[in-house]
Amino acid sequence: MKSVLRLTGVAIIIAAVGFWLATGGNRGWTKTSVPIKTIDDVTGIEGVSYHKKFVPGVDFLAVTVGLGFLCAGISFLFRTKPGPRTSNEQTSH
């Protein structure tokens, strides 16, 4: 169980960092839409429209990495099962 939790925690952290880097490593806040600029040929005005797109930011990274550490940290709450006694330990008593 301990190993599963630790591996899951590491997997979450790797996936989160990988996803954040793959989407551009945005060092600002997470965005749920991105502005797209278009220039009107006649007036020269720059218009802005928004396209729905999820761009994770440092807040996303902090939450997911935190979740990964939490997952791995929980594993320390489990006590290690005592292993079978060796023959030496049995004879010493």
């Binding site: 009107d40 007036t43 005005i45 802005v48 761009v55």
Partner: protein, 203 residues
């Protein structure tokens, strides 16, 4: 003969007056390009957004740009940010309260320091800026570009002129009761505003 001359002179006077008459430009843009931008500094990243719901009318006389008057209105419900959570906060009663105060406007009463070069006029527009129910007299720099007979290039089914207005100015949150004195460590007191809009006067 005398009567005919009088009629001719009167007709010419009327035609001249009609040609020199100020035009009224409508800023409700059917192409949806008109926008007002806003920027607030913040520690992690500046908060940059736009508002697309621009309307209003401006009366402009190319022969006398100093006489320009008009009102530009921005629908507060169209204030948009790339982060939907931040946008929700901004539109809520904690910040802009767009349900209670649906309009942000500038009502220009007169132009000062008018300089015209070709079809471009720069000036300081004196008027009342209203935001979140608070009106304050302000003087803002404006650049007006008069594009004669260009409306058909933008909207092929129509003929007329275009007037482009550009302006950059700042307001303070405190002056307009936008969460005054709150979250100053997270959101700057100053809000930078950018206006880039085109109005049409159909003939």
């Amino acid at each position: 003969m005398k009567t005919q001359l009088t009629i001719l002179v009167a007709g010419l006077s009327l035609a001249t007056a009609a040609l020199a008459a100020p035009e009224t430009f409508d800023f409700k843009d059917p192409k949806g390009i008109n926008n007002a931008g806003f920027k607030l500094d913040a520690p992690l990243e500046a908060i940059n957004g736009t508002a697309s719901g621009v309307s209003g009318t401006v009366t402009f006389d190319p022969e006398n740009p100093a006489a320009t008057k008009g009102k530009i209105v921005v629908a507060a419900a169209t204030l948009t940010l790339p982060n939907s959570m931040q946008q929700g906060h901004m539109r809520s009663d904690k910040w802009m309260d767009v349900a209670k105060y649906p309009e942000i406007s500038f009502d220009a009463k007169e132009l000062k320091n008018v300089k015209t070069e070709g079809n471009v006029t720069t000036a300081d527009a004196v008027g009342a800026f209203t935001c979140k129910g608070v009106s304050k007299d302000m003087t803002i720099p404006v650049k007006l570009t008069y594009l004669k007979d260009k409306l058909s290039q933008r909207l092929p089914s129509m003929k007329g002129d275009l007037l482009v207005i550009r302006s950059n100015f700042s307001i303070k949150r405190t002056d307009f009761n936008i969460n005054p004195g709150q979250f100053e460590d997270k959101v700057s007191e100053e809000i930078e505003l950018t206006l880039s809009i085109a109005g049409a006067a159909a003939k």
